[in-house]
Point group: C2
Chain length 216, copies 2
Amino acid sequence: MTSPAGQAPSRGALSPDEVVAGALALVESEGLAALTMRRLASRLGVAVTAIYWHVGDKAALLDAVGDRIITRLAAVPVKGDDPATRIMSVCRAWRRRLLEQPELVAVVHAQGRTAELFQPVRRVLVRELTAAGLRGHDAAVALQAILQFVTGSVLTDVQVARAPSQHVAPEDLWTAADVDGASDLLDELRHPLSSDELFDYSVRRLVGAATGAPRR
Amino acid sequence: MTSPAGQAPSRGALSPDEVVAGALALVESEGLAALTMRRLASRLGVAVTAIYWHVGDKAALLDAVGDRIITRLAAVPVKGDDPATRIMSVCRAWRRRLLEQPELVAVVHAQGRTAELFQPVRRVLVRELTAAGLRGHDAAVALQAILQFVTGSVLTDVQVARAPSQHVAPEDLWTAADVDGASDLLDELRHPLSSDELFDYSVRRLVGAATGAPRR
DNA sequence: ACCTGAACACCGTTCAAGT
DNA sequence: ACCTGAACACCGTTCAAGT
């Protein structure tokens, strides 16, 4: 983690930290696919094998890069007065933050560490749901439902942002036969809500279900 | 698409269909990572370059494989009497079906064609939501909300199934500080609902919100 | 302790050449 | 029309060798 006590790094010496930082910079600027051992080495101005000495093989490198990404994205700003507002706000801000860096999300997701990435939001949500009066099992279930939705929304949109050219836009797949001739519905389906609007709508529903008035 | 009219394929001749079928079989048996042009060629008993002649480069091959996967998974069984039950049933069956073949889902997702893959469920859902009395904008919004959740659930669990070893189980990340000392909640968080239970619970809520009694 | 160079087994892709 | 073989530019990884 830290460098040897009191020992200044000698001129031009390579540290594990520098290697990982270089890898992260490479992913940010050119995408996950551009992160190869050889390209990273030439970027760092060393032989490929130096990377192996400092951080290990590519799996180890990706692990370390994943750690850094998860740490960097951890801060979650919360705004609003009542719990429902605060929950909406944190979900929205978190989603927007992740969508700004789709390649970083892809790194973490490819490692199967998505749940770990979302842990900061989980902490905030559990606090807000408790503040909203939910206890025990109810709180745990509501938390997971909301989180599942947010995760899904992010993963979907991240992939759309990363996919070079969307094959067929889903809104073009609808035909009149699908809607039994209800042309107003067809119109709606062909001009769907933006991801942002849909996200707002759905989280609001799940939040409402969790914190709103009793349901019967 | 079809072979030349009335012309029986000569003995041992390679067709685009055979190439794509071989690729799909390779993905099913050994995973997406095992699908390389060279391995496929040796599996088919031809030189690598024969693939290029029949279907083109790797992107074209993946395209064709994606088409096949989407077609094969298209059938959606619907059960139940009332719309809400039918919606639950189709979502659950669809999810279970996709989770049986995580590598196939991964192929389609990597191509950014997830929305296309989910189109059959979209068709069923729009029919059932209409039957439930939802019209126009309301139906379109409810459809997208439910679909977003199902998609997210599938993508999350597919990646968990594919990731060789989960890094840290998210339920181990909780500490007493996160829950303000509410130890019953901590217990719940550490033993969360299974993906199946959570899925049922959440879709039920979204379906209820869409088709249930008026909300105020 | 730290780093290099050569080597190996893999990739995807192109192209001239065969039948 | 259909297929092969050689070649090119890339991968990740190992290992002996240098300082």
